[in-house]
């Protein structure tokens, strides 16, 4: 058991004692990590400023000048398609007095002009115009006062960025998780595209409840989501017995990523999704869609359905619907969910419509499944207002010691679908980063990001 007491910069906050908050051997977790404001401030620095964070899908910004305003944790950033086809991600903060330089959600821009004093930045984030420059800032070297740039890389349609110059390349960061991520991103020739629209909503809960559930928790499904499952049972699509389903969970060997899924009994994969969408879209051929994906994947991943996954720290996908989302942290007690739909580029219009309807009717703020997740996390968070509740450890033991390698034709560290191995992986990565002061911005002395 690791015991670490972290002494924070004395000027900025009191010491935070992280000893004993996560004990993988004992299978316990202290709920103080979901509610403590000092731990949250440490997370912003040690987790979010050091990890690769999801920004947007490539198809959100296809043309030069297309921009998408989003956040890296609490920091507002703008992702912009460049004339050379690349993407830049920079802080949405004017270098003069810190006003946002972009106040709209998305669109196409030739420049970003601060509405406070008028400093203007080009689509690469370079400072190009300062009002009354001769009188007000004679001799200003504008090349030194561009918007703060993040490091940007893409993986199969997903754009990520990080503030960490020492982070491994994105592909290495994802590591052996890519095999399971490709079930979503590379299930057909040409990969995926985003369905239009970002559903944004607020859930008063800690970001780790959401990230952990999508990483590891198949177990909650039959209880939390019993109502939409029961409501959709028909003669044509009778109930699937969850205890009879074969399913697996995967804990990435590194990095805190995780996934879980069922193996679909023949013919049930699309059937389940169609009843949850309340019907088959005219012209959609589920058999053809299934065959296309199974052939392209070319191995046992063609049988995967109802796959949940999280990329550490705060990006998740549920491929039972086709929803991808970021859990933007907003203090220890709140998140903003930003969710969008993913669909194969190779899909027919009818298939795309089927996926659109299925996704918005199940996994969205109004979704028949997602409604109940929000209810759970809000109630858990409220309980943690209690002092005694915060000192009462949670059990995170499911499936401990029951992993196997290369199991059932699925590579890596594999558990049964009902396990918390991937959650333990997520918290192990969290604990590792929180316990390591090296490379943090305070250690680098990077609080003042002065012009070079």
């Amino acid at each position: 058991m690791m015991t670490v007491i972290i002494r924070r910069n004395e000027k900025r906050s009191p010491n935070v004692d992280l000893s004993d908050v996560f004990d993988e051997q004992a299978g316990t977790i202290s709920p103080v990590i979901y509610s403590d404001p000092d731990i949250y401030q440490m997370e912003l620095e040690r987790i979010f400023s050091r990890s690769w964070l999801f920004i947007a899908h490539e198809t959100h910004i296809p043309k030069a000048g297309d921009y998408f305003s989003t956040y890296m944790a609490e920091d507002p950033v703008i992702a912009v398609r460049q004339k050379d086809g690349g993407v830049r991600v920079f802080l949405n903060q004017c270098r003069h007095r810190g006003m946002k330089i972009c106040r709209t959600d998305s669109g196409n821009a030739k420049a970003f002009t601060c509405t406070y004093h008028g400093w203007a930045y080009d689509i690469g984030g370079n400072l190009v115009q300062v009002p009354l420059e001769e009188q007000s800032f004679p001799g200003l070297d504008k090349s030194k006062w561009g918007a703060r740039q993040a490091r940007v890389e893409s993986y199969k349609g997903l754009i990520f960025a990080t503030w960490n110059e020492e982070a491994p390349a994105l592909a290495e960061y994802l590591g052996d998780f890519r095999y399971y991520l490709d079930t979503v991103l590379d299930a057909s020739e040409g990969g995926t595209e985003a369905i239009g629209g970002i559903v944004k909503w607020i859930i008063p809960c800690n970001w780790k409840f959401a990230a952990e559930q999508f990483c590891s928790d198949m177990y909650h499904g039959t209880m939390s989501h019993t109502s939409p499952i029961t409501a959709a049972i028909t003669e044509e699509f009778p109930a699937l017995d969850p205890t009879a389903l074969s399913g697996f969970q995967f804990r990435a060997s590194n990095g805190g990523h995780g996934t879980g899924f069922f193996e679909a009994p023949a013919g049930t994969s699309w059937g389940f999704r169609i009843v949850q969408a309340a019907g088959l879209v005219e012209g959609f051929d589920p058999e053809a869609a299934h065959s296309r994906q199974a052939a392209h994947l070319g191995d046992k991943r063609g049988t995967i359905f109802s796959q949940h996954l999280s990329i550490f720290p705060n990006f998740s996908v549920f491929n039972g619907a086709s929803t991808a989302r970021v859990w933007h942290p907003r203090g220890p007690n709140e998140i903003e969910v930003w969710a969008f739909g993913l669909v194969d580029k190779a899909a027919s219009d009818a298939e795309k419509e089927q996926v659109r309807l299925m996704t918005l009717r199940t996994f969205s703020a109004a979704g028949t499944w997602e409604q109940d997740d929000g209810e759970n996390w809000v109630e858990v968070q409220r309980v943690l207002r209690g002092h005694e509740a915060r000192q009462t450890k949670f059990n995170i033991q499911m499936g401990a010691g029951a992993t196997r390698n290369e199991g059932a034709d699925f590579p890596g560290t594999i558990s049964n679908a009902y396990a918390e191995e991937a959650a333990r992986g997520l918290y192990a990565q969290w604990f590792k980063l929180m316990s390591d002061e090296e490379g943090t911005s305070s250690k680098r002395g990077a609080y003042v990001h002065a012009a070079e």
Binding site: G107, G197, I198, V199, W201, I202, F340, R361, A365
Partner: protein, 186 residues
């Protein structure tokens, strides 16, 4: 430069409907709201026509040149894009008694006002615009307030209620939804 759009919205409707029709439709909207607030969801659902489209688009912050893209389109994700069949699925979910986001149910109050009626080409159909304020309180202290506009299509039929609803477009006056879910109807 783009024009401020005030000028195009200041026209009065071409024909103002009779006070009798105005009152009849307003009374129908109040009746409908009372069914939701009294948790008579199955009765409320019976007012939805077989060809209902129940649609609540997303809403975004756009620059002046792209203001016409404020609302998400019909091929985009929406909060709601429902048919009669999918509304019925939502009703059956509630009826399981295991729909935790509405068990125990939210307390709601649907307030409907600013009702403007336009006769459509089909003499039995009307377009009805209204403003709404929807208060929700649930569990111990959770409280949400939603405001917006509804653009309804009403069809006169032989029934106790007198009308059925074949279109409900809901424009919520929020961009980032300030509630943890939308487990209620508008």
């Amino acid at each position: 430069m783009p024009q401020n759009n005030v000028a195009t919205n200041t026209q009065l409707p071409k024909a103002i409907v009779s006070p009798e029709l105005q009152q009849e439709i307003e009374q129908f909207l109040y009746f409908e709201a009372s069914l939701l607030d009294d948790h008579l969801i199955a009765d409320w659902m019976s007012l939805m026509a077989a060809d209902i489209r129940y649609f609540m688009p997303l809403r975004t912050n756009r620059g002046p040149r792209e203001r016409d893209r404020e609302f998400s389109g019909s091929r985009d994700i929406a909060y709601f894009d429902e048919s009669k069949a999918s509304l019925d699925l939502r009703l059956r979910k509630l009826q399981t008694g295991l729909a935790w986001a509405e068990e125990p149910p939210s307390r709601t109050r649907h307030m409907v006002t600013n009702v403007r009626i336009t006769a459509l080409a089909n003499p039995t159909e009307y377009e009805v615009k209204s403003a709404f304020l929807l208060y929700r309180n649930r569990a111990e202290t959770q409280t949400d307030i939603f405001a917006g506009e509804r653009i309804d299509g009403l069809r006169r039929i032989e029934s106790v209620a007198g009308f059925e609803i074949f279109k409900r477009h809901i424009h919520l006056d929020q961009s980032t939804l300030l509630a943890n879910n939308l487990s209620i109807f508008f």
